[in-house]
Amino acid sequence: MRAALILLAALAAAPFLGFGEGYSLTLLARVMILAMAAVSLWLLVGGGGMVSLGHAALLGIGAYAVVVLDDARITDAAVVVPVAMGAAGLFALVTGAVAIRTSGVQFIMITLAFGQMAFFTASSLAAYGGDDGYTLYGRTTVLGQRWLEDRLAFHYLCLGLLALTLFGGHVLLGSRFGRVLRAARENPLRAEAVGFRPYPYQLVAYSIAGAVAGLTGVLLANAAEFVAPSYLAWQRSGDLLFMVILGGLGSLQGAVLGAVAFVLLEEWLGHITEHWRLIFGPLLVLSVLFMKGGLVGMLRRG
C-alpha cells in the first residue's frame, strides 16, 4: 500500500505546494473521484474476477440521484448520500443477479448492455434535461451547511472518501468474505470443492462496489455541478477499466495509481497537442504490452 499512501499524502499537501488555485483543484478533484471509482471497480475485476464494462452507469445513477433530489430541492447529504448509494447498489444487485450467472466475455457484454440501458434511460429523462444534462442549483449541503462550496473543503472531502474507500476495500479483501471472493476468482472449482458457491459472494461484492460507485457519483455531480447522460456512457466504463488495468491487478492500490497516471497523462498530452489522442492511444497499448502487472508490478520489480 506504500505507493498509494505516498500519493494520498501528496494529494493532501498539494493545495499548499502551489496547486491551490481553481484549475489545479478541479483537476485534482477529478483525479481523486476517478480514483475512487477505479477502486470500486478494482474490487470487482481484481478482487472478484468480474470484468465489468458497465461501471460508469453505477456512477451515473449516483449522480442522477443528486439531480432528481436537487430538482425536488432536497440537497442535504443526509438524504442524498443514502439515496445515491442505495439506488446504485440496488441497480448493481438486480443487474448483477443476472450478469453474474455468466462469466468471461458474456459477463463483459451483459454489463455493457445494462450500462447502455441506463445511459439511454438517462438520455430520455426530459424532466432532467435529457441529452443536454442538468445543471445543479447548488452543491450538496452537509447538515444544512454549504461547506462543499468551499473548494478546499471539497478537496479534502474527496481525499478523505478516497482514503476511506481504499482502506475499506483493503479490509474487505482481507476478511473471510474477501478470501472467498479471491479464491473464487483464482479458481472457482477449488472454491466450490471446499464448500463455497461463488455466486452469493460475487453478488454481494458487486452490490457493495455499486454502492461505492453511487457515492462516487455524488462527488462527480458536485465537482461539476452538472450531470449529463454521457457520465453513464460505455466509453467512461472503458476508461475506468483501463485505469484499473494500467495500475495493475496485483494490488488494490493499483487502482489509485492507474487513475492518477491516466488522468495526468491525458491532461499533460492535452496541453502539448490537440491531437493528443493519437499519442495517448498507442501509449496505452504499449503500457499493456510491456508493463506486466501494470504500474504496481513495475514498482514491485523496482
Binding site: V171, L172, G174, S175, R176, F177, G178, R179, V180, R182, A183, E186, N187, L189, R190, A191, E192, A193, V194, G195, F196, R197, Y201, V204
Partner: protein, 251 residues
C-alpha cells in the same frame, strides 16, 4: 448391518450412444480404503464427477450418510462432508499453502459473510489449517505460495485441503497422477498414515499403489463394475485379468 457411508445404486450416464456409466452399483463402508480401478476409458473420471457433483447422472442414486446426493452441487456435497481431490492439481496458486488449507477450514467454521476482521489473523482457522498441512508433511512449507510448490508438494497440498475439510469421506481422484517414483512413495506413505482415521474412496491408475493400500477394490470396465472384492480375490479374478490383459471378455 448398518447403512454404508456411501451407497451407489443403478447409476447411469450416457454421452450420445455411449454408456459411460452403466448401471454402476457399489457401496463404501465406514473406515478403510475402497479403491476403484479400471483400464483407460473405463469411466473412472465420469464416475468421480457424478459422485462429487460436477456431472449429473441420467439415472440412479447416490446416498451418502443417509442422504440422497443426486441433484446437489459440488459445494453442497462438500459441506456435507464429501471432500474430493483433483486428478489435475487444483490449488489456489496465489494463496500460501496455509491459506489454501485455511479456506477449507473456514468453509466449516461459521458464516463467511464477515466483512471486517482479517481472516488471516484468525487463530482457530490457522491452527487447524496447520494441523492439516502437518498431516501431509507440508508444515515447513506453510508460508510458501502454492504456485511455487513442486509438483509433488502440490499433490500433498491437494490432500491437506481435503483433510482440512474434516470430511466423512475422502474422494481421491488419482492422487498419484504425474508423481515421480520418490513422490509416489512419499504419497503412498501419507495415504497409509491416513488410513486409520479416514474413510477413503480412491480412484487410481497405479496398480501397485492400489494393492498396497486398498481394503476393497471395485473394478470398472466399459462403465460397468465387473467385480468388487478384497485385493487377493480381485487379483485372482479371471474377468479382471482378462480386462487388464486386453483379451476378449470370456463372459
Amino acid at each position: 448391518m448398518a447403512e454404508p457411508l456411501l451407497a451407489v445404486a443403478g447409476l447411469r450416464k450416457r454421452f450420445g450412444g455411449l454408456a459411460v456409466t452403466d448401471d454402476v452399483t457399489f457401496s463404501v463402508a465406514e473406515g478403510g480404503i475402497h479403491a476403484v480401478i479400471g483400464p483407460n476409458g473405463a469411466g473412472k473420471t465420469t464416475l468421480i464427477h457424478q459422485l462429487s457433483g460436477t456431472l449429473r447422472p441420467d439415472a440412479g442414486s447416490i446416498r451418502f450418510g443417509g442422504r440422497e446426493l443426486v441433484g446437489m452441487g459440488l459445494a453442497r456435497r462438500a459441506r456435507l462432508g464429501l471432500a474430493r481431490s483433483f486428478q489435475i492439481t487444483s490449488v489456489l496458486a496465489g494463496f500460501s499453502a496455509l491459506e489454501n488449507a485455511a479456506l477449507a477450514v473456514q468453509a466449516r467454521s461459521g458464516p463467511s459473510f464477515r466483512f471486517f476482521r482479517a481472516a488471516a489473523a484468525e487463530r482457530a482457522l490457522n491452527d487447524q489449517a496447520m494441523t492439516a498441512l502437518e498431516q501431509v508433511g507440508l508444515g515447513a512449507r506453510a508460508g510458501v505460495l502454492a504456485g511455487r510448490l513442486s509438483h509433488g508438494e502440490k499433490r500433498q497440498l491437494e490432500l491437506a485441503i481435503a483433510l482440512a475439510m474434516q470430511p466423512r469421506l475422502l474422494l481421491l481422484d488419482e492422487p498419484l497422477a504425474g508423481a515421480g517414483p520418490e513422490e509416489t512413495e512419499r504419497l503412498i506413505g501419507i495415504l497409509l498414515g491416513l488410513k486409520g482415521t479416514y474413510t477413503i474412496l480412491l480412484v487410481e491408475h497405479d496398480m501397485q499403489a492400489v494393492f498396497a493400500l486398498a481394503d476393497r477394490i471395485s473394478v470398472l470396465v466399459y462403465g460397468r463394475v465387473i467385480a468388487t472384492d478384497g485385493p487377493e480375490a480381485i487379483r485372482a479374478d479371471p474377468a479382471v485379468r482378462a480386462a487388464y490383459l486386453g483379451e476378449d471378455e470370456a463372459a
